[in-house]
């Protein structure tokens, strides 16, 4: 029934996606450098993208493929804005350590 079953099983793709996502989460949580944290976010987004295309391929549905483009677009915009913020933060605070940037509170 599924095309994937004739080659690499679906599970593998999903496991790879989950592993990438977990790596992204862990990196986001433990890394201090803001740029690394940012890269971790990209990693999570792409892990999700991988599962999207996997399912799209599995079910032969084009929606998942289209959604990946949306995610990529958002990721690109986010990269632009996020890097700009990082530069601005570095200019004012002279540091990129995440735990030093704790102004997001009352």
């Amino acid at each position: 029934m599924s095309l994937l079953h004739q080659g690499i099983p679906l599970t593998w793709y999903l496991l790879l996606s989950a592993a990438l996502f977990s790596l992204g989460v862990i990196g986001f949580l433990i890394k201090r450098n803001l740029i690394t944290v940012f890269l971790s976010i990209e990693l999570m987004l792409n892990a999700v993208n991988l599962s999207f295309v996997t399912f799209a391929y599995e079910w032969n549905a084009v929606k998942g493929q289209i959604f990946v483009f949306f995610v990529m677009m958002v990721a690109a915009a986010e990269a632009a804005v996020g890097l700009a913020i990082i530069i601005a933060v570095f200019r004012t605070r002279a540091t990129l350590a995440v735990d030093r940037i704790n102004l997001m509170k009352l």
Partner: protein, 674 residues
Amino acid sequence: MNESLQLWLVPLLPFAGFLLNGIVGSRLPRRLVTAIALLAPLGSLALVLNAAAATMISAATSCQGCGSVAAVTLPYTETWRHPWLAIGPIHAEFSIVLDQLSMVMLLVVTGVGFLIHVYSVGYMKEDKGYARYFGYLNLFLFFMTVLVLAGNVLLMFVGWEGVGLASYLLIGFWFEKKSAAEAGKKAFVVNRIGDFGFLIGIFLLLENFGTFSFYQMRVSLGMNTTWHGGVLTAICLCLLVGAAGKSAQLPLYVWLPDAMEGPTPVSALIHAATMVTAGVYMIARTHFLFDRSPFALSTVAIVGAATAFFAATMGLAQNDIKRVLAYSTISQLGYMFLACGVAAYSAAIFHLVTHAFFKALLFLAAGSVIHAMGGEQDMRKMGGLREKLPVTFWTMTAAVFAIGGFPPLAGFFSKDAILYTAFLQGTLGKVLWFVGLVTALLTALYMFRLWYMTFFGELRTQDAHPHESPWSMRGPMVILALLCICGGWIGIDRFTAYLAPPVGLHRTISSGSGGLEIGLSILAVLMALEGWLIADKYYRRKPERPAQLAAAMPGAYKLLANKYYVDEIYGALIVKPLVAISKYFLGWVVDGAIVGGTAWLLAGMANLSGMILQRWQSGNLRSYAAWLALGGAALLLFVLLFGSPHAWGITFFHEETIHTVEHITVMHFGQAGR
């Protein structure tokens, strides 16, 4: 046949005057303010006189084709096309009804009203609130004419409340003076008590008659001849409470003496001649209800007689010239209630008219005296003003003899009619007659006391330089004096015959005899003469005697001088407990503990939860991310353990997607947790 009399303009002209003088009056030149203030009531008076002439013609010449003269038959009605209130089958309209009763009342209100407006021009000349004063005075005339002309009880209530408002505004006219502001407040609050009774009466009327219209009530009562007492008594007693509040009867009279804080012409117009008689007018207007309830009628009579007597005794020991007149007004209103209570409504209205003349004149003369004395109101500092103020003296004399009940002045005829009718009403009537007779003596006593203390002897102060008042003040006084002298000559019989259509004939007018009436009249005049002689002895020939008498009977004197301590008793029994309840129960318990407590509790809860929840808001990016990850993990775990959100009736995924997720879950993780 009925040509329009344009009676709706009678209230509206003064209202226009009120709007003009009230809004822009302070910026207009004084002459223009005066012109507006005088033309408005003059226009009303002209319309009323025109209406009177039209109705008189039709009454006198009941022939066909009497030429081109416009003839109008009473009752005459003007109704505004659009209904005012339409609640289901109940309609209240802006309808004004002119019958003999409202005609008499209108003539008094606009006639005396106009005279007092003229007087006020002289009296208030120096006042900085000149325009405001005339604005209020016109407003009063507006509401009073609405009250008088109202064809239904609801519209009457509008006028009723309105005159209360005008009264409040004018009592507190000099609001910088604390006592004046307090007096206005007192009048308003006491009147609210009465109005509460009136309102309940109106609701009961609506409940039982299904209409507000006086005419329809009268018709439906006329068709139901067996309906007596019961709810009618309740209605009448409620109306009596309202009337007692407005007309200053026991036990609600306490506001009227304090109302003397207002300018004197106001006391003359509102608190003597017109507004305070509204209660009498209301009872006469609803007399068909009272006629069916003997109990309510007796209550009215007893309240009236008691008020007449007690107020007269209180008037004996007052030294403020206006307060003497205030108690005299209460006492005379008591006479009118007594007349209503013995179903002699035309006698009550007759006394209302003559009282309007002589009491308005007494107040105007008192105002002239106060004006001459430079604002002094204490009679103990007056005296010997006879030569200095001749016009005031002679007009006042006419009024004093009129109120004293000396023939042939106005007061004699009306008071005599009341006492005579009371005498014919069985045992209770005889008791009330006797009270009225004693009151007649007291009336003469306190009036001649005022007369002697003011105009005779020597001036007892050096501060004042008395001078006669200007013509704008003397003119109205002279006209009123003529009315005092001639007003009663119309005679009670002719008056009763005129008023018969709206209020009916006296129930027992024919059961007396001419000899009895003359005998009672002579007795009443003798009593008045006795009062005069006592006053003459005590206040002219032996002016040191009253003080000796007061010293001999300190208890009785103090009781009278302090007005039976009624204000103090009300203060202790009603005001203080009310204030205490308001302050401690309502203020502390209800407002402080319950309302305030709830508010504080809510605020405290919000504060506490904020204090707890703000710990999540650490500002640390990593902790946010950790909570986010934990939350996502928890949600995922929840779905895996307890099934899909779909099974819980929650659909935030697309149907297809959920099937997909379920499928995958089942396929790859088995049935675990299901």
